[in-house]
Symmetry: C2
Subunit: 206 residues, 2 copies
């Protein structure tokens, strides 16, 4: 059966707990690797090149764009952020399930370039709970709340483009859900085309 | 999230251990129900109507066909066998994950009628192992072996029409694989369209 890793993109409403889930997943199981992004922003104290980010100059980054070395990229606040293809493919070939946490626009670009990518969307258990998390503890300004609600609305529009919807109600259950989904995906027929072809050919040869 | 059960069709090479896997699954977890087939063959000693089969006369069965009350049916050795729609839908509505063990022709018919059906194919871990199981312990006639190989060849042709390929190497792992796949499938976005629509509408209303 298929030994190659699966690339999984994780998105979700802000406050859905994506970061914590990823951290737990990596702590608990050794088949995962986080994708490391490339960026042109300056490293912050304590950040190491190749661990938090691959730090690049603007010229280096634009060369990567030109040479199609990024699966997706975007720019925020005058800096580029992107996902280097080489690192992801190396990890996948080594059998690691690579996790990439990005927003919907990036997620869809990744799926387009690498159609075997699995898209997971993390959501609170209910609209009420989502609203509670967005509104916060009443200490935010109306402006902050409005902007969060607007963004959540945009994020929700893309929910059905994702393969799976994972409810983050209890962290440990949510982590298990993600793990089981990725384990199960390894057994998808289309990910085991080689095994199937081998079996067909062998039986035909009888 | 979606509380309705999922209809899962299980097929696989003869000797792949489908029956044992289903039995273990039902023993271990209470979310499953086996689909009960209708048949025109006479009940055998110990068989109870509605448990092993729904026993029908030829006239009753043909009426069920005419009234589109079967998801699929076929006839073997002058008897009809089929899957009553009502029983399956009742179980699904009650939140049970219904398991149906049939061959590929039936499986594809079910998928056509009920596109949300999950198709699982059980296979030995390797071609070598499959051949070993097919050839048996050397006590079968060449005729029996030939017919098994021919049938396996036909079964293999349909493997990639299934959603998942499950290797039956160790029984307990295989049972867990099936269970995890079905659990994971409950989290598919398309099975939770109502939840998604609800969230979108609510966020739009803000």
């Amino acid at each position: 059966m298929n030994k190659k890793g699966i690339l999984t993109v994780v998105s979700g409403f802000s406050g859905a707990g994506k970061g914590t889930i990823m951290k737990e997943l990596l702590k608990k199981y050794d088949n995962y690797a986080l994708s490391v992004s490339a960026t042109t922003r300056a490293p912050r104290p304590g950040e190491t090149d190749g661990r938090e980010y691959f730090f690049k100059t603007k010229e280096e980054f634009e060369k990567m764009i030109a040479q199609d070395e990024l699966i997706e990229y975007a720019s925020y606040v005058n800096n580029y952020y992107g996902t280097p293809k080489a690192y992801v493919e190396e990890q996948l070939e080594a059998g690691k399930d690579v996790i990439l946490e990005i927003e919907i626009q990036g997620a869809l670009k990744v799926k387009e370039k690498m159609p075997d990518t699995l898209l997971l969307f993390i959501t609170p258990p209910s609209v009420e709970e989502l609203r509670k998390r967005l509104v916060g503890r009443g200490t935010e300004t109306m402006e902050v709340i409005e902007s969060r609600l607007k963004r959540a609305g945009e994020e929700a529009e893309g929910m059905d483009r994702y393969d799976y919807l994972i409810v983050n109600d209890k962290l440990d259950i949510c982590v298990e859900d993600v793990h089981e989904i990725i384990r199960g995906e390894h057994l998808r027929s289309f990910r085991n085309a080689e095994f199937i072809e081998h079996m067909k050919a062998e039986l035909k040869g009888e």
